[in-house]
C-alpha cells in the first residue's frame, strides 16, 4: 500500500537537494567553497606549474649550464633539483635553500617563544594579578601588531646602532649611555626574532588572555583549596588549560614569521642573516625565477603543515577550552614589587608602542634629521611647494593633493576590502558553525585560511598574471579589492566562526520558530548580539590592508595608494615626508580603531579571536 506514495529516485534526489539548499547555511558553505577554491586553487595551481616548468630566462640559464635544449614552458624538475638537491652545486643549494630554511625555522621558533613569553606573561599579569596600569597596558599592548612590523625594526636600529657596528651611526642608547651593544644585537637573527616576537606578542596576549578571562576561576580556586602553591597551580592547572591557545599562538606566529619579509631585510641582511622570504625575493628577481616558485611552494607546505598540526592539537584538546564563563570574582595574585614590575612594563611598552609614533612625529618636524633645534611644521602645513636641497617634494602633507589622494585611495580600498572580507567572514562563520563537524564546513574553514599561507609577494605576482588573462580586471580598483579580500579573509573567517560558535544554536532557533526569515535573523538577531566580534572582523582587514605594500606593488602604479607613495619618498630620502606619512598611516589606524571601539565595542583583539 506504500507503492503509490513511493517517488522515483530523481524526484527524491531533487526533493532532498531542495531541502538541502533551502538552508541558507548550506548555500553559504557551498558558494563560498566554490568562490574560494577558484580564487585559491588557481593561484596555487599556477605556483605549482611555474615551479614545475621553466620560464624563458630560466630555460636560457639551464640550457647553458647543463647543455640542455629546454624551451619556455617545458616541464622540468630542474627548479627543484638545482634549488634543493645540489644539481648545480652543493654550495648553491645550501646558500639559497637549506641555510635560509634553517635560519627561517630558527627565527620563527625564537619569535614564537618570545611572542608566547611576552604575550603570555602580560596576559597572565592582566587577568590574574593586581598589577597596576592595567588599562594602559592592555590598550597599548596591541599597538605593535597594528603598526607595520618594519617600523619596529627601524626603531630597533635607531636605538641600538652604535659606532662599533656597520657604518657606525650613533644610536640612541649609545648617545644616552655610551653603551655599545655588540653587532649581533643590532643585526642578525637576534633582532629579527625579537622584533617579530614583539610584533606578534599581542597575538599571544589576545588568545591566551581570552581563555584566562573566560576560564572558570573555580578551577584554580579548587587547586588553592587543595593547598597547591601559585607556581604549582600555574604549572598543573592553568598551563594545561591554556595549552591549546599556546600551541595555536606558536603555530600562527611561526607561520607568520616564516613569511615575513620586511624585518629580516631591515635588521637581518646587514648581519648576513638570510631567511626563506628574503631568498624568495632574491630568486624572484634573479634569472632563476622558477626556483622562487619552488620556494613559495615550500613555504606554503610548511604553512599547511603548521595548520594541520594546529588542527590536530586543537581538535584533540578542544574539550579543555570549553569554559563556563562564570568566573566572576577572580582573586588577584598580589605581586611582590608590584610598582617596579608595573613600571618596567610600562616603560618597555612605551618603547615598543608609543616611542615609534613619537619618533615618526619628531622626524617629520625636523628640518635637519635628528637636530631638534630645527623643528618646523612646513612638511605638514606648507601650502607652497617645498623645494630646498632635496628633490621636489610638493606641498606640505596636509595640503598635498597627491598624498591626500593616495591616503584617500588607501582608506577607500581598505574600507571596501574590510566590508567584503568582514561580511564574508561573518557568513563563513555562520555557515561553518551551523554545519559544525560536517566535512564541507571543515573544508571551507581550512580553505578560507589558506591565503594566509601564500606569501604576499607571490600572491601579487600570481594575480598580475591572472589579470592579463582577465582583461576587464587589469589595473582596476576591483582587482585590488579581490586580491586583498582573499588575502585577508583568513582572520575574518576565523573571528566570524569563533563569534558564531559562542552563540548557542537556540538563539537562532528561537527566531526560526517564530518564522523570522533568514535575512532578518542575520541582521536583527545574530549580528547585533555579537556585534563587537563581527565588527572586529571588519576592523582587522582594514588595518592590514591600509599598511600593506608588497601585495599591491605589482598591481598598481605609485601614487594610488599611500604605501606606494611612502616608498617614493623613502626612495628619495625625504625623511620628513616619509616619517609623516608613516605617522599618518598609524594615526588613521588608531583613530579608526578607537572610533569603532568607542562606537561599537569592537576591537582588534576580538578580531584575532580573543574575547
Amino acid at each position: 500500500m506504500n507503492d503509490r506514495q513511493t517517488l522515483s529516485r530523481p524526484e527524491k534526489v531533487f526533493n532532498k537537494l531542495i531541502a538541502y539548499l533551502t538552508k541558507p547555511s548550506n548555500v553559504i558553505v557551498i558558494s563560498f567553497l566554490i568562490i574560494l577554491t577558484s580564487c585559491i586553487v588557481y593561484p596555487l595551481y599556477s605556483v605549482y606549474s611555474a615551479a614545475m616548468s621553466v620560464g624563458q630566462m630560466d630555460s636560457m640559464m639551464y640550457n647553458s649550464l647543463f647543455g640542455l635544449h629546454l624551451k619556455k614552458g617545458d616541464m622540468t624538475f630542474l627548479n627543484f633539483s638545482m634549488l634543493m638537491l645540489g644539481k648545480y652545486s652543493r654550495e648553491y643549494s645550501t646558500s639559497f635553500f637549506w641555510k635560509p630554511l634553517w635560519n627561517s625555522i630558527r627565527m620563527s621558533t625564537y619569535s614564537s617563544i618570545i611572542a608566547l613569553l611576552v604575550g603570555g606573561i602580560i596576559a597572565w599579569l592582566i587577568t590574574r594579578t593586581d598589577i597596576k596600569y592595567k588599562k594602559y597596558i592592555s590598550s597599548v599592548f596591541v599597538f605593535p601588531y597594528i603598526m607595520p612590523s618594519w617600523t619596529l625594526a627601524l626603531v630597533w636600529k635607531n636605538v641600538f646602532a652604535n659606532s662599533k657596528v656597520g657604518t657606525g651611526i650613533t644610536g640612541m642608547l649609545e648617545s644616552l649611555t655610551g653603551i655599545c651593544v655588540p653587532s649581533w644585537f643590532v643585526y642578525g637573527i637576534f633582532p629579527c626574532s625579537v622584533v617579530m616576537g614583539i610584533h606578534y606578542a599581542p597575538f599571544a596576549y589576545i588568545l591566551i588572555g581570552g581563555i584566562l578571562r573566560n576560564m572558570d576561576a573555580n578551577l584554580e580556586e579548587a587547586a588553592t583549596i587543595l593547598k597547591a602553591d601559585r607556581w604549582r597551580i600555574i604549572r598543573k592547572v592553568t598551563l594545561p588549560i591554556v595549552l591549546p591557545a599556546l600551541i595555536s599562538t606558536v603555530l600562527l606566529v611561526f607561520s607568520s614569521t616564516m613569511a615575513s619579509y620586511a624585518v629580516p631585510v631591515f635588521v637581518g641582511s646587514p648581519g648576513d642573516f638570510y631567511v626563506m622570504s628574503t631568498m624568495l625575493r632574491s630568486l624572484y628577481s634573479s634569472s632563476y625565477s622558477g626556483q622562487s616558485y619552488v620556494m613559495t611552494l615550500v613555504l606554503v607546505l610548511i604553512g599547511i603543515g603548521m595548520l594541520a598540526l594546529n588542527q590536530a592539537v586543537i581538535g584533540k584538546r578542544k574539550s579543555f577550552t570549553t569554559v563556563t564563563g562564570k568566573s566572576g570574582q577572580v582573586s588577584f595574585v598580589r605581586l611582590k614589587g608590584n610598582k617596579l614590575i608595573s613600571l618596567v612594563i610600562v616603560i618597555v611598552l612605551f618603547f615598543m608602542a608609543i616611542f615609534p609614533i613619537i619618533s615618526f612625529a619628531l622626524e617629520s618636524l625636523c628640518e635637519v634629521q635628528g637636530d631638534y633645534s630645527t623643528l618646523t611644521l612646513k612638511y605638514w602645513l606648507s601650502r607652497e611647494e617645498i623645494g630646498g636641497i632635496h628633490v621636489a617634494v610638493g606641498k606640505g602633507i596636509l595640503f598635498n593633493s597627491t598624498i591626500l589622494g593616495a591616503l584617500w585611495g588607501s582608506i577607500k580600498l581598505s574600507a571596501v576590502v574590510s566590508l567584503v572580507v568582514g561580511t564574508a567572514g561573518f557568513l563563513i562563520g555562520y555557515g561553518v558553525s551551523k554545519n559544525r563537524g560536517s566535512k564541507l564546513a571543515t573544508l571551507l574553514s581550512n580553505v578560507a585560511f589558506f591565503p594566509y599561507l601564500i606569501p604576499s609577494m607571490a600572491f601579487g605576482s600570481i594575480f598580475l598574471a591572472v589579470s592579463t588573462k582577465l582583461l576587464f580586471l587589469r589595473g582596476t580598483f576591483l582587482l585590488l579589492v579581490i586580491v586583498a579580500s582573499i588575502k585577508y579573509l583568513p582572520f575574518a573567517s576565523r573571528s566570524g566562526a569563533s563569534a558564531m560558535m559562542q552563540l548557542s544554536g537556540e538563539i537562532e532557533e528561537a527566531a526560526i520558530i517564530v518564522g523570522a526569515p533568514w535575512h532578518i535573523r542575520m541582521t536583527k538577531i545574530l549580528f547585533p548580539i555579537q556585534k563587537a566580534s563581527f565588527i572586529s572582523g571588519y576592523l582587522l582587514p582594514f588595518v592590514s590592508c591600509i599598511r600593506e605594500l608588497s601585495l599591491f606593488i605589482l598591481l598598481t602604479s605609485s601614487g594610488t595608494l599611500i604605501t606606494t607613495l611612502l616608498s617614493y619618498f623613502d626612495e628619495r630620502n625625504v625623511v620628513q615626508m616619509s616619517n609623516g606619512i608613516n605617522l599618518l598611516i598609524i594615526l588613521v589606524v588608531l583613530i579608526v580603531n578607537f572610533t569603532i571601539n568607542k562606537l561599537t565595542g569592537a576591537s582588534i583583539d576580538k578580531g584575532i579571536g580573543g574575547n
Partner: protein
C-alpha cells in the same frame, strides 16, 4: 578532491577562452609602432612634436621606469603632453612587459630600464620592445650606445666617510677585499641586476688584467692562482662579497654613511648625494683608485612594441637625449651622465667635483653586454651563490 579538479578545469577553460581571444596574428609586416619609429628617426623636434600631439591629444603617455626620476614632469611643461609613470623594479618591468606586451595588452609606451642582458634577451628577443635612435643624435652617441639606446649613465661608486679630514682612503681596489673594509654597505647584486652585470663584466679578460696590475701594485707580487678561483676576478669578487653588508636601498646606504663613523665605506649610486648631507663623504674614484673606482651603468630607453602613442614615445626619447631633457630630469645633480656626448654635466655637479662621462668611462667598469651574454649563466650562478651564501 574531485571537486577541486573540476573547479580547476572550469577555471582553466575560462582562462583559455580569454587567452584565446587576445592572440594576435603573426605577421612579417611591420607593425604600426615600427612604421612610426622608422618615420620618427628622420623627423626633427618640431615635426615630431606636431605628430605626437596630433596622435595623443590630451591623453597620457605611459612610461615605466626603473628609475624614479621619470616622474619629473618637465616633458609635460615643454610639450604639453601629459605623462603617467609607474616605477617597477628591474625584475618587475620585464614581468610587466611579458604580462602586457606578451599578451597583446597595451600597458606602456616607453620603457626606461637597466640591464642589457634582459633587455636584449627578453624584451628584444620576444619583440616586446623596439629600439629607436633619433637621427638628430646619431652622431652624438657612441656607437655602443645605439642598440639598445642608452639614454644616460649612472655611476655607482666607492664612497667613504672621511670624518672631516681623511682623504685618499681607498687607493687600490684590492683594499676593499681586506678585513679592515668589512661591512661595505651595498645593495645585494641579487636584487640589482646592473650590479650583477658589473661583477660579471669584471671577469672578462680585459678586467682580469687590470685587476692583476692593481694586485701587483698593491701586494707587490704577481697574482697566482691557488686553485680556489678560476681567475683573479673571481677572487676579487668573492672577497669583495664577503666584505659586503647588504642593505636594501641605496638611499639608506647614503644616509647610513653620511651619519656614520669615519672610514665606513659604501658602494652606492653617486646621485644619492643629492638627498644627504655629503660634507663628510668622499668619492674614492675622484681621488684616484688603482684598478677602478666603481661601476657605470646604462639607463636604456626603448619603445613598447604595442605603444599606443609611438610618436609621442619617440618624442620622449628625443627629449631624454636633449640637453634640456637630461638637465631637467637627471642632470640637475651629480652622478648622472648623458649618453649625448655634447651634453656636459651641470654646474652643481661640477661644484662637488663630479666629472664628465669620458672621465668616468676611464675610471669605472662599464657593463659589457656582449661579454655578459657570452658567459652569463655560469658567471651569474657562481656569483649569485656567493651572494646568497655569505
Amino acid at each position: 578532491m574531485k571537486k577541486i579538479i573540476a573547479v580547476i578545469l572550469v577555471a582553466s577553460v575560462m582562462l583559455c577562452v580569454f587567452a584565446g581571444g587576445s592572440k594576435e596574428e603573426a605577421t612579417v609586416q611591420e607593425s604600426p609602432v615600427q612604421i612610426a619609429i622608422k618615420e620618427a628617426e628622420s623627423l626633427g623636434w618640431d615635426e615630431l612634436l606636431a605628430k605626437a600631439k596630433a596622435e595623443i591629444g590630451d591623453k597620457e603617455l605611459v612610461i615605466y621606469g626603473t628609475t624614479s626620476r621619470v616622474q619629473e614632469n618637465s616633458f609635460t611643461e615643454k610639450t604639453g603632453i601629459k605623462i603617467k609613470t609607474e616605477q617597477p623594479d628591474d625584475t618587475q618591468i620585464y614581468e610587466k612587459m611579458q604580462a602586457e606586451v606578451g599578451n597583446g595588452i597595451y600597458g606602456a609606451d616607453v620603457f626606461v630600464t637597466t640591464d642589457s642582458f634582459n633587455l636584449v634577451n627578453l624584451a628584444f628577443a620576444n619583440g616586446w620592445a623596439e629600439n629607436y635612435v633619433p637621427a638628430a643624435y646619431s652622431d652624438k652617441l657612441a656607437q655602443g650606445d645605439k642598440n639598445p639606446l642608452v639614454a644616460l649613465y649612472y655611476g655607482r661608486l666607492f664612497i667613504y666617510n672621511n670624518g672631516g679630514k681623511m682623504n685618499n682612503y681607498i687607493k687600490n681596489i684590492w683594499q676593499v677585499t681586506e678585513p679592515e673594509f668589512k661591512g661595505i654597505e651595498m645593495k645585494s647584486p641579487l636584487l640589482e641586476k646592473c650590479s650583477m652585470n658589473f661583477l660579471i663584466t669584471l671577469t672578462s679578460p680585459e678586467w682580469q688584467s687590470k685587476l692583476a696590475d692593481a694586485y701587483k701594485s698593491y701586494y707587490g707580487k704577481e697574482w697566482k692562482s691557488d686553485g680556489s678561483f678560476a681567475n683573479i676576478s673571481y677572487e676579487w669578487i668573492y672577497k669583495f662579497i664577503q666584505n659586503c653588508s647588504f642593505i636594501n636601498k641605496d638611499s639608506t646606504i647614503a644616509k647610513d654613511l653620511a651619519a656614520g663613523a669615519k672610514g665606513s665605506t659604501g658602494f652606492f649610486v653617486f646621485s644619492k648625494f643629492r638627498s644627504v648631507d655629503y660634507s663628510n663623504l668622499s668619492v674614492a674614484a675622484l681621488e684616484g683608485v688603482e684598478g677602478f673606482g666603481g661601476m657605470l651603468y646604462p639607463i636604456y630607453s626603448v619603445i613598447s612594441s604595442n605603444a599606443k602613442y609611438p610618436y609621442a614615445a619617440c618624442l620622449y626619447i628625443n627629449y631624454l637625449l636633449s640637453e634640456d631633457g637630461f638637465m631637467n630630469i637627471f642632470g640637475k645633480d651629480m652622478g648622472a651622465y648623458s649618453s649625448n656626448t655634447s651634453v656636459a654635466i651641470s654646474e652643481k655637479a661640477k661644484s662637488v667635483g663630479d666629472q664628465d662621462l669620458a672621465y668616468w668611462l676611464d675610471k669605472c667598469v662599464l657593463e659589457d653586454s656582449a661579454y655578459i651574454s657570452s658567459v652569463y649563466a655560469q658567471a651569474y650562478t657562481k656569483i649569485a651563490a656567493w651572494c646568497a651564501g655569505k
